[in-house]
């Protein structure tokens, strides 16, 4: 299916460490987007990588995309307490954007 599947389901790391989350999907895509959700709030768009791109940076975020393996990764460097949230990858094919279960990231003080 187009749905992205995030791995791991949950991740706890010490503040200051790097966090890596992975995403796999099964269909061809136009782009892949990553979103963050803080508890009780809506999803917030973080970064978008197009199908013809392999790597993209935005501040402390680094996203990679391997269309041959149908996988993507999100790296958050120098994590902060405020990064505690759920993270979702969203493969986009035409007008459809499908989300998975997300990765729950907990930054320990």
């Amino acid at each position: 299916s187009q749905q992205g599947e995030e791995d791991p389901q949950a991740l706890s790391i010490q503040e200051g460490e790097n966090a890596t989350m992975n995403c796999s999907y099964k269909t061809s895509i136009n782009n892949l987007q990553w979103y963050r959700q803080n508890s009780g709030r809506g999803l917030v768009h973080l970064i978008l990588i197009r199908s013809n791109e392999r790597e993209k940076h935005s501040g402390r975020l680094r996203v990679t995309l391997d269309t041959s393996k149908k996988s993507s990764s999100l790296l958050i460097t120098a994590s902060r307490a405020a990064d505690t949230a759920s993270y979702f990858c969203a493969p986009r094919r035409d007008d459809k954007i499908i989300f998975g279960k997300g990765t729950r990231l907990h930054i320990l003080p």
Binding site: Y35, R41, G42, V44, H45, L48, D95, F99, G102
Partner: protein, 118 residues
């Protein structure tokens, strides 16, 4: 610019009752999406409007769910009659739709409506 707003933020109803959720997208956003998240599961796509037209309603669970977007502005999602399994958080999202049908416009989400059916 005002963000996507959803109303109500919470709703508790009994099985068999009717509930109507409302979403006001960002002004000028032709795309409007509804999603639902049941605790611990994926954020499930329900349907997609382009202006007032239903572009894709393949995710709607059954005919107890009715979505409308009269005039291409705000949208409502009615559940009638509600069942226990309808409980969850309903999210609305909107995005721009350019002449080139840009697929690179990000979604802007509301804070969701938490629906509890007892």
């Amino acid at each position: 610019e005002a963000g996507v707003t959803q109303f109500p933020s919470h709703s508790v109803i009994e099985k068999g009752q009717t509930v109507t959720l409302r979403c006001d997208p960002i002004s000028g956003h032709d795309n409007l999406y509804w999603y639902r998240r049941v605790m611990g599961k994926e954020i499930k796509f329900l349907l997609h409007f382009v202006k007032e037209s239903k572009q894709d309603e393949s995710g709607m669970p059954n005919n107890r769910f009715l979505a409308e977007r009269t005039g291409g502005t705000y949208s409502t999602l009615k559940v009638q009659p509600a069942e226990l399994e309808d409980s969850g958080v309903y999210f609305c999202a909107s995005s721009q739709r350019g002449l080139a049908r840009s697929y690179n416009s990000p979604l802007h989400f509301g804070n969701g409506t938490r629906l509890t059916v007892t």
